[in-house]
Symmetry: C2
Subunit: 228 residues, 2 copies
């Protein structure tokens, strides 16, 4: 094994490469490339050829599509463990969506050919990939159905609860999205996102300092997220 390989220290190792040994471990260790992206930088551009198998080691990213009118539709927000470039990669030549860093992020990239080869030779790796792709796809589909049936207040509340509870684990956090991006995610206009946030502020549910949000009344916000 390559003595310089640090994969055995990788927190994400068990996600896929738990059972690797011998030649396969070498492929991963010597073939992988880490890349760093600053906030706002593009990691994947819609329409480009898929060459790498990419997963997120740290940071936060958005997956989105741009329609012919230039309007962005955010598909999902993903953090490490969530995001792996699984959508499309086994069925398509080209990416069907773009990925941009919402916070400074680090990805680990492997050659797609190697991953395909290993998946074909190593059953437990293949099953791991199936499990993860299934999980990612389910989450995106079910979340999207959830959002779709909510009204504006419910959608904004849902987003805030998501950031607070799933990403930052704190009632106070800096929004990684602009108001416009929030609108792109939940399918409403920028003005209405702003208006809804102001409403929540007036209702005493939260405090707003620019991008910084402090959730004062989490219970109310959660119930708006669920039933609104």
């Amino acid at each position: 094994m390559d003595p310089g390989c640090t994969c055995e220290l990788c927190e994400l190792r068990e996600l896929f490469f738990d059972k690797l040994e011998g030649a396969h471990l070498d492929i991963v260790c010597s073939g992988r490339v880490e890349k760093t992206f600053g906030k706002g930088e593009t990691i994947i551009k819609e329409g480009t050829l898929i060459r790498d198998f990419i997963y997120l080691k740290s940071g936060l990213v958005k997956l989105y599509r741009t329609d012919n009118a230039g309007k962005e539709q955010i598909i999902t927000i993903a953090k490490p463990y969530d995001y792996i470039s699984l959508l499309s990669v086994f069925s398509n030549d080209r990416y069907q969506y773009s990925v941009t860093a919402l916070e400074d992020s680090v990805t680990c990239n492997l050659d797609m050919k190697d991953v395909r080869k290993m998946a074909g030779e190593n059953g437990s790796l293949a099953l791991n990939l199936l499990k993860h792709m299934s999980r990612v796809a389910d989450k995106i589909i079910l979340d999207s159905l959830d959002i779709r049936k909510k009204h504006l207040r419910g959608r904004v509340a849902y987003l805030l609860v998501f950031f607070s509870q799933n990403v930052y684990l704190s009632p106070e956090f800096d929004l990684p999205l602009s108001r416009k991006e929030m609108a792109d995610y939940v399918g409403m206009t920028t003005e209405n996102v702003i208006r809804t946030l102001s409403e929540f502020r007036r209702d005493g549910i939260l405090k707003i300092y620019g991008k910084t949000i402090r959730i004062v009344n989490m219970d109310t916000l959660k119930s708006v997220a669920e039933f609104g």
Copy 2:
């Protein structure tokens, strides 16, 4: 090989089981069960344990979720080659959605344990499964984003074009969905589906005889589907 096995005649064989041989082929041949469902019958019920790996041999089905208020949200409509119970099956114990036959349908069922075992032992089968899951998930996600950004007229037009061009391959066909189900699919109310259909009729885009639809002006309908 079991002399009674007819898998080699199955039109869907190459979807997954192209490269099977020996013991694996036996597992498929002797373990598979075909089931027939009449129009309206439930094939999979949300929340039940996933035991089988199921794919559609013939017919047409809807995948949907029922929310706590009892309202159905249709996730997708699938025909043979589209539908395989891939969503969830590798990541979950239980189905996250229900499946009901829209037309008389036949499924081929395999024991999930066998499929998992074979995928772990046969690389090309695993890659096939990855490819199909990826394709199915992509389609559902991208279609759903497409629908979301359309207005009512565009959504109804999209549905009609889908049935005409992707399912029945004819400008005249019997709608397999009630007005209410169409509404559940595209996320609008039954009344508005009916109203929109009436509008299309008044505009001379189509003729309606109950469930039978005849598209008179396909070009207009398509452009409504795309831009409306």
